[in-house]
């Protein structure tokens, strides 16, 4: 029996009739009401309660709500969703610990609502419930970015919201069409063979950071606060991975979209100078591996995507916590400004390096036992080109995140900065995730048991160990040999967001200018007309107008006699 089964059985006496994510959402909304210590208790208790509820629901489907002519299933557990909900709950707990003393109340509150909505998606058995939670996630995450309180964060949160509202509209259009076509709102595997399912696919992919709109991740996430980015890195993209996994397993185009994302992430991260943007690009890179595996679609590939998502949330959060500690203690984000921080922040550096090794899939870390499921799935299916690309990309991960991040932040030149370690709660959060990175790496067979179909896969063969060490170590050699080519510059790299941040801006300005000229011409004509009217009125009714003039009394006598004559003639005739 799997661990999933055992824990579900322990909790079987209790069958909650509400979506488990609701606990975190309510906790988030009520957080402002709780003062002082009681708020801290809520921060820690809510994720634990959520996790217990997640396991209590297990794979049950015990709530059916009538809505119009449809039946909603907002508490519909499935094996994959359970894994995602589990890691989302753990993430909320450790993210809460990382944020508890430093984050603004609104950020923590929005972060919990956001996390709860993500868990809501993983239990959605129908497309309407899914959509509601999907949109709450968009709002919650926007607030998390916005709560950093800077002008840049405000602008970035707005761009972020626009992109996600666009995605929401596309998704809702797809759902509406699908309901019209099939008459069912059930969320189950689809083929992208109709406009409806293609729109749904696009809606999901947009949240995964797929091309062409990948830029929102690196644009928005790094503007959040140190703890805000930790929350952001976990939920939106991984919820998208979950929905793709349930909705579109084995859809071939996902293989190529995934490969594009993998290399996009590497190239842009290599060009980047901002340490938090490097990590943001590497989210796209990692999600690319998962999207590619979903495209392959075999049981092993889907197990790989799920396991990789689980491990990825942990090590990516760990990397971002490490970068966030540096940001909090130095106020600096650019590689050109930091360096040599290992001297006074050795624990932050150590945890950052554990995260870096895990993301690079170094043996004995969580990346090694999860990502290799995906490459093995490609090999099993005889997808030679895909396999060679994924191997090159694995080496590239070590290059752009595994070495580049720790090297430029904690080593390279000595920047002269001597910041102390970050506060205890941030350190504690990092140690918990470092521990999990190593624990999963050391005991993969225990970890595989939480997957719905535990793969029969042996990560620790002599050949796999040796080949992985070679691949990564020689990638490391390439990094140091080519270091002069990677000298950091004070630059950013253009991306698709150029179209809506620069091009459309220029078009809009130009449009305003042109229409402005036309507008003022029109206004001038209108004004001339009005002035002419006023002049005429004045001429007729003004103090000297024909109707307001003082007439001589002789004139009046004349007119009176004319009237009298008229009356006499009138009465004489009739």
């Amino acid at each position: 029996m799997t661990e999933t089964g055992m824990i579900s059985q322990l909790l079987s006496g209790w069958s909650p009739g509400f979506p488990p994510g609701l606990i975190l959402m309510v906790a988030g909304l009520l957080m402002p009401v709780f003062p002082g210590l009681s708020r801290k208790i809520v921060v820690f208790a809510a994720p634990v309660l959520t996790l217990l509820t997640v396991w209590a629901v297990g794979t049950d489907n015990n709530v059916a709500l009538a809505f119009l002519d449809y039946t909603l299933n907002p508490v519909s557990g499935n094996g994959y969703g359970l894994v995602f909900a589990t890691i989302f709950s753990i993430m909320a707990f450790v993210g809460g610990l990382y944020a508890i003393n430093q984050a603004r109340l609104i950020e923590l509150s929005a972060g919990y609502v956001y996390a709860g909505a993500a868990i809501g998606v993983t239990f959605s058995g129908d497309l309407l419930s899914l959509f509601v939670f999907w949109e709450i996630m968009a709002l919650g995450s926007t607030l998390v970015i916005w709560s950093a309180g800077t002008e840049k964060a405000w602008a970035a949160s707005f761009r972020y919201l626009l992109i996600h509202l666009l995605g929401g509209v596309v998704l809702m259009s797809g759902i509406t069409l699908r309901v019209l076509e099939t008459g069912s709102i059930a969320f189950s595997a689809m083929q992208p063979d109709s406009l409806a399912s293609v729109l749904i696919l696009i809606g999901f992919l947009l949240n995964a950071g797929a091309p062409p709109l990948s830029a929102w991740i690196a644009d928005a996430y790094p503007e959040a606060s140190p703890s805000g980015m930790v929350f952001l890195s976990a939920f939106t993209t991984k919820t998208a991975v979950f929905t793709l996994l349930i909705g579109f397993p084995g859809t071939e185009i996902l293989i190529y979209i995934g490969l594009y994302m993998v290399f996009y992430g590497i190239i842009y991260a290599l060009l980047e100078n901002d340490m938090r943007r490097i990590l943001a690009y590497s989210i796209v890179n990692q999600v690319g591996f998962m999207v590619c595996a979903i495209g392959i679609g075999t049981e092993l590939a889907l197990a790989g995507a799920t396991a990789h998502a689980f491990a990825h949330i942990i090590y990516k959060a760990l990397l971002i916590m490490s970068a966030g500690s540096v940001l909090l203690m130095t106020g600096k984000r650019k590689c050109t400004d930091v360096g040599g921080l290992i001297q006074t922040m050795p624990y932050t550096a150590f945890n950052g390096i554990i995260g870096a090794l895990a993301i690079s899939a170094f043996p004995f870390t969580s990346g090694f036992v999860t990502k290799s499921l995906e490459t093995a799935a490609a090999a099993d299916q005889g997808l030679m080109l895909v396999w060679f690309c994924l191997m090159a990309a694995s080496a590239g991960v070590f290059l752009h995140a595994g070495i580049k991040f720790p090297w430029f932040v904690f080593f390279q030149k000595d920047s002269g900065l001597r910041p102390p370690e970050s506060p205890w709660n941030m350190q504690a959060a990092m140690w918990i995730f470092s521990f999990l990175c190593i624990a999963i790496g050391l005991f993969p067979n225990w970890f595989y048991q939480i997957l719905p179909f535990p793969p029969d896969y042996h990560a620790y063969t002599a050949s796999h160990l040796v080949t992985q060490f070679q691949l990564l170590l020689f990638a490391g050699l390439a990094f140091f040999v080519l270091l002069p080519m990677m000298k950091r510059t004070l630059t950013i790299s253009l991306d698709f967001d150029w179209f809506y941040r620069k091009f459309l801006h220029i078009v809009a300005n130009e449009f305003t200018l042109k229409t402005g000229a036309a507008g003022s011409l029109f206004e001038k004509q209108l004004r001339n007309k009005a002035e002419a009217l006023i002049k005429r009125l004045y001429k007729v009714h003004g103090p000297y107008g024909i109707l307001a003039r003082t007439w001589p009394s002789g004139g009046m006598v004349l007119w009176v006699s004319v009237m009298l004559a008229g009356i006499i003639i009138f009465s004489a005739i009739f």
């Binding site: 590497i266 190239i267 290599l270 005889g382 191997m391 990564l472 990638a475 004070l490």
Partner: protein, 88 residues
């Protein structure tokens, strides 16, 4: 030139040859097992066993990474802008 003895050992010039020496030693150690290990072949039916050849992962890792760095450098010529590009 006399170096500042308070400088962290990682940043002393005199440590550099040692650091390179250690890196090269690790690289050599990683290739040695190639003499004793038989690798799997995945794509034999498609006419290649290169993935199981001697030291494949070593040179493949090195050259693909070098290609990515050079590729990024070339793209950078077109894509890079000053980091205040979007600030109005």
């Amino acid at each position: 030139m006399i170096e500042d003895p308070h400088k962290h050992w990682l940043y002393r010039r005199s440590s550099l040859p040692w650091l390179w020496g250690i890196l090269i030693a690790i690289l050599v150690i990683s290739v040695v097992p190639e003499f004793f290990i038989q690798h799997y072949t995945y794509f034999e039916d498609q006419g290649t066993t290169i993935e199981a050849s001697f030291g494949f992962h070593a040179w493949y890792g090195f050259f693909t990474c070098a290609a990515m760095v050079v590729g990024a450098k070339i793209l950078g010529v077109f894509l890079k802008r000053k980091d205040n590009y979007y600030d109005d």
